[in-house]
Each structure stands twice: as C-alpha cells, then as structure tokens.
C-alpha cells in the first residue's frame, strides 16, 4: 500500500497542476480525498449499527411508557428493567427456546446441507441446474415461507397431516397448535429454509479441496467413509466454522419466521429472545424492557462473533 502513496506522491510532483505545490499540503489533500471515499460508509455504519448498540444499553436503564412518545420523558430508573425482566418466568423460557431453536436448526441445516453438498459434488447430468434450483427456499422472503408452512401444517386440513393419514401414521398431529409440538415444528421449517445456504457454502468448500488428496487416499486403499472422515472434513474445517458461526448469528435473532408461523404461541411455547424483544417494545410499548432482552441477545451473539473472528484470522484475511 505504501507503494501506491509513493507513486501518488511522485505523480503529484510530475503532474503538479498548481505552480510549485507544497508537497505536504498536497499529501494532506490527497488523504482527505481518500477519506472521502470511506467516510460515508463509516458514518452510516456508526449510525445504524454503532448508535443502536449504545442506545440500547442506555434505554435499558430508562422507564418507557406508552406516553413517552408524546411527552418525550423516559426517566432513568436504575436497574428496575433488568431485575423485572430477569425475574420474569417468560424471559427464562424465551432464553431456553432460543438456545433449543438455534442448536436444533443449525444441527439439521448443517447435516443435511453437508450431505447434499457431497452428493452434488458428483458429476451427473443436470447436477448444476438442480443444485441452483435448490436455492429457491432460501431466496423467498422468510415471512412468506412461514405463512406457506402455516397452511401446510394445519392440523385439520394441512397437506402434511393428510399425507401422514394416508400412510396411517399421526394424521392429526397438532403441529403448530400444541405447546409440545410448536417449537419442534418451527425448527423443522427453519431447517428447510437454511439447508440451501449451508449446501452452497459447503459445496464451494468441497470444490477447493485438491483432487490429489482424494486420489492419494484411494490409492492407500481408504474406504469412501474413511476418506471423508480423515481427508474431507479436516480440510473443510475453516469453511465449516464460517458456516456454523454465520448460521448461528442469523438464526439466534430470527423474528419473522416465528411471527408468521405461531406469533410466539401457543402459550408462549415459541417465544424467543427475538420475539420477546419485539413484544416488549412494540406491543407492550415498554422499550426499556425490550432493550434489556435485546442486550442479552447481543451478548449471546458477541460470544459467537469471537469464534467467527478467530475463524477469519486463520484464513489470513
């Protein structure tokens, strides 16, 4: 990068438009121009990501009421919001649901995504076309997917139960209406949404593995499974980390899918930290409580962001 500035300085000398330019002033002006490229993005990200982070911490110590937005008054109330939220049984439930939902989704998405990535790594007619069409579920807006599945999972007239009925198994399962089943159903739908994303990234990773490695393994007489376990998986490790961490960060905060499928019900069986943040702030208009839940959500994400950065650093990027 220093070469760029050196040549820049050199060319500035040769092309000097103003008579006898002061090199220091020229360099300063050049730096200013260069910052002009980067500054808008930095300001934007500070406003839309940095500011909300700080603001949420402050808000979590303020008392918001439905009247706040008319009067503009949100007095500080110490740790009242925190103790109220942390003692609320619903918060504990939502935290637990968030962890179950995230772990279950990731496990399912990753295993099926990896299996499909390996499958599509074979060469066969139409392979590429089929592989790209599988992306569709990931591209459709998540709310819309949720609504489509809401119809499919309907207990009385949904096609899934109709199908199970013809097979003679569990034809009247209350997928979304029983507190015991709802979270599992939401996880299953989210697995369906996430498989394509996992598949594409893992497929890309598989393509990067040098052919010689596999050839060497098969020359050594290793079985297909053995090759997969001792050659493919270790080589894929950085890609796997990235997939899991990105998956974690996008799954832990999911709101639209759950609202579309169950609205957090039945009996709060599918409330997560995301839906609880929304409900506290925008339904009950207690933005202080919403900020508390949101902060907990960010803390959980931050732990995993550390993993992500570690994974990135091994890439040397």
């Amino acid at each position: 990068m220093t070469t760029a500035t050196a040549t820049a300085a050199a060319s500035a000398k040769t092309t000097g438009t103003t008579p006898a330019p002061d090199p220091d002033r020229l360099r300063r002006r050049r730096r200013l121009t260069q910052w002009g490229f980067v500054a808008p993005a930095v300001v934007f990200m500070l406003l839309f990501f940095g500011f909300p982070l700080v603001r949420n911490v402050v808000m979590s110590f303020q008392h918001y009421t439905p009247r706040t937005f008319f009067t503009g008054e949100a007095p500080f109330n110490g740790t009242d919001n925190w103790s109220a939220v942390l003692q609320d049984a619903l918060f504990g439930k939502a935290l637990w649901h968030t962890l179950v939902f995230t772990a279950g989704s990731l496990l399912g998405q990753f295993c099926i995504g990896l299996a499909l990535a390996v499958f599509f790594s074979r060469r066969f007619p139409l392979g590429g076309v089929l592989r790209s069409l599988i992306l569709l579920p990931w591209l459709v807006p998540m709310v819309v997917s949720g609504i489509v599945w809401r119809r499919i999972l309907d207990q009385d007239t949904g096609v899934l139960n109709t199908f199970l009925d013809t097979l003679g198994i569990g034809g009247s399962t209350p997928w979304l209406t029983s507190p015991d089943m709802a979270l599992l159903s939401v996880i299953l739908v989210n697995i369906w949404i996430g498989v394509p994303f996992n598949m594409v990234i893992l497929y890309g990773g598989l393509q990067e593995i040098p052919k010689e490695l596999h050839e060497a393994a098969s020359l050594d007489g290793a079985s297909a499974w053995r090759t997969f376990r001792s050659v493919t998986l270790p080589t894929l490790k950085p890609v796997i980390t990235v997939v899991l961490v990105l998956g974690f960060m996008s799954t832990v905060k999911i709101l639209d899918l759950i609202l579309a499928l169950t609205d957090g019900g039945p009996a709060d069986a599918t409330q997560t930290l995301g839906t609880l943040t929304y409900q506290s702030s925008f339904v009950e208009l207690d933005f202080g409580a919403g900020a508390v839940v949101g902060n907990v959500l960010i803390l959980i994400s931050a732990v995993f962001a550390v993993f992500y950065l570690r994974a990135n650093r091994t890439d040397g990027k």
Binding site: A4, T15, A41, R123, L135, L139, S145, I201, G205, L259
Partner: protein, 280 residues
C-alpha cells in the same frame, strides 16, 4: 457452472450417473414441494379452509386477481423501497470498498473488522433503538426512512464482497490512470467501477433481495398504512383473511417472483455472492 455431460462412458457408469440424476430430482422435489403447494393453493381459491387438492382442477385465477387488488400497491411499495435501498447501498459501499482495498488508510483494518461485526447486531435490536430516533426525526412511516434502514441490510455485505474483488485489481492499471493525470475519483469512476462490474451486480442483487425480504423494519418503523411493503401486507393479510387462503397464497406467489427471476437470470452471481460474501 452446470455439469457438462461427459463423453459416452461405459454403460454401468452411465447408469449410475442417471441414478444420481434421479436422486437429485427427488431431493429437489422434496425441497421445492412447499413452494409448489403455495402455487397449487393459490390456484384453488375456493378451497378456503378445506383440504386442498394435490393438483388444481383448472386455472382459477380469481385468487390472483383478489391478491393483486388487495396487495398490488404493497408490491409497488416494496419495489420502490428496494430500488431506493439498492441505490443508497451501492453509492455508499462501492467507494468505501475501493478505499478500504487500495488506499492503505490508517484504521483500514479496524473498519473492515467493524463491518464484519455488524452482522451480529440483530435487526430487532436496531429497530428498538431506531424507533425513538425516527419519531424525533419524522422518519417513521416514510419511504426514505425505510430505504435507509433497508440499505443497512446490504451495506456491510457489499463492502466485504466488493473489497475482496477490488484488492485483486492489477495495480498497473490504476497507476496508468494516474500517470494519465486522473485523480482518485476519476480513476474510480472510469477504471475501477467498469472493472468491478460483476461484483457490483452481485452486491446490487443481494441488496435488493435483503430489502425485498425485510420484515423487521417494515413492521417496526411503520405505524400507519402509508408505507407498507408486501412482506408486512401478507403478514397482516392472514389475520384479516383467515378463511381466504387462496388469495393469501396468491399474494405469496407474487412476492416470491423476484427471487425466482433473480435465480434464473443471475444464478452464477447468486451462488458467487453467497460463498464470496460469507467466506471472505
């Protein structure tokens, strides 16, 4: 991209290849079944709350015409907001990507690091803090406010993606432009942008998809019906039309059209964007 059909192989191998194709078609069928069902239900508007037949008996488009009259305006809103978000996103992230790739400014690493970190901030948390500021600034229920918020979904992704590309633009080309007397801005517009066309297209496509699919900002930053994107429209539709699944599904089909079009027209960009934007 697509697997090219290899030269005629031994019959046994060819049989196995076709077996793989059959398995692939089966997998695709299972994965796309819900989307087929969405279309199928949309074509049976009279089914209401009853069971839906596996295939539509005829081409009954009344569900679609109902959906267009109810949701057409929201589709248009989504289009306007998404195009605005794409414009804001590219205008901000393309110069930044170039600056971070090429200028060696002090703090470059910190800024790139910060860009990656933004991915961990949940949308609902951003909305929680933005809402009160939007109220003060009069940006609630405005097109511009929603465009800005939606642009935030695409900006970090675009910066990372384009920067990864611009790092590899050959230095000689930029030096040649400088020797010709072009300043940084002219070099950027005349040389760098045309060379980065693919990265720009990919970023633009994703910024569009992120914005089109946004639900959290649409839900939280709008309190009236003035600015209602299709995602919010459909969500409120199920509340109001609980017995009219045909038109709800027809509206869903219409909202999924951009995704399908983009996939068909730009599949190589989409796949490259998913891998490039996440791994780099």
């Amino acid at each position: 991209m697509a697997a090219h059909t290899p030269a005629p192989a031994a019959p046994r191998v060819r049989g196995r290849r076709l077996g793989s194709t059959a398995a692939g078609v089966l997998v695709l069928g299972v994965m796309l079944f819900p989307l087929y069902w969405m279309l199928n239900t949309a074509l049976q508007p009279e089914s209401g709350l009853l069971q839906v037949a596996p295939v539509p008996a005829g081409l009954d488009l009344s569900g679609f015409s109902q959906a267009v009259s109810d949701q057409g305006g929201h589709l248009l809103t989504s289009l306007v907001v998404s195009l605005g978000a794409v414009a804001i996103c590219l205008a901000i992230s393309a110069p930044a990507a170039y600056g971070l790739a090429r200028f060696g400014l002090r703090g470059t690493r910190t800024i790139v690091f910060g860009t990656l970190i933004t991915q961990m901030v949940p949308g609902i948390v951003i909305a929680n803090a933005l809402y009160s500021s939007y109220v003060e600034l009069g940006l609630v229920n405005s097109y511009f406010g929603l465009m800005l918020a939606d642009a935030s979904l695409g900006i970090p992704f675009s910066i990372v993606l384009m920067r990864a590309f611009m790092v590899s633009v050959p230095g000689e080309v930029l030096e040649a432009a400088q020797i010709d007397g072009a300043g940084p801005l002219r070099t950027f517009v005349r040389v760098v942008l045309p060379m980065s066309r693919n990265a720009l297209i990919t970023s633009g496509l994703f910024a569009f998809l992120f914005s089109w699919s946004d639900f959290v900002f649409a839900l939280t930053l709008n309190t009236t019906d003035d600015v209602k994107p299709i995602t919010l429209g459909i969500y409120q539709y199920i509340g109001a039309h609980v017995g009219d699944w045909g038109s709800v599904m027809a509206a869903s089909v219409l909202s999924a059209v951009p995704a399908a079009i983009l996939l068909v027209l730009a599949q190589k960009y989409i796949a490259a964007g998913i891998t490039g934007g996440s791994v780099k």
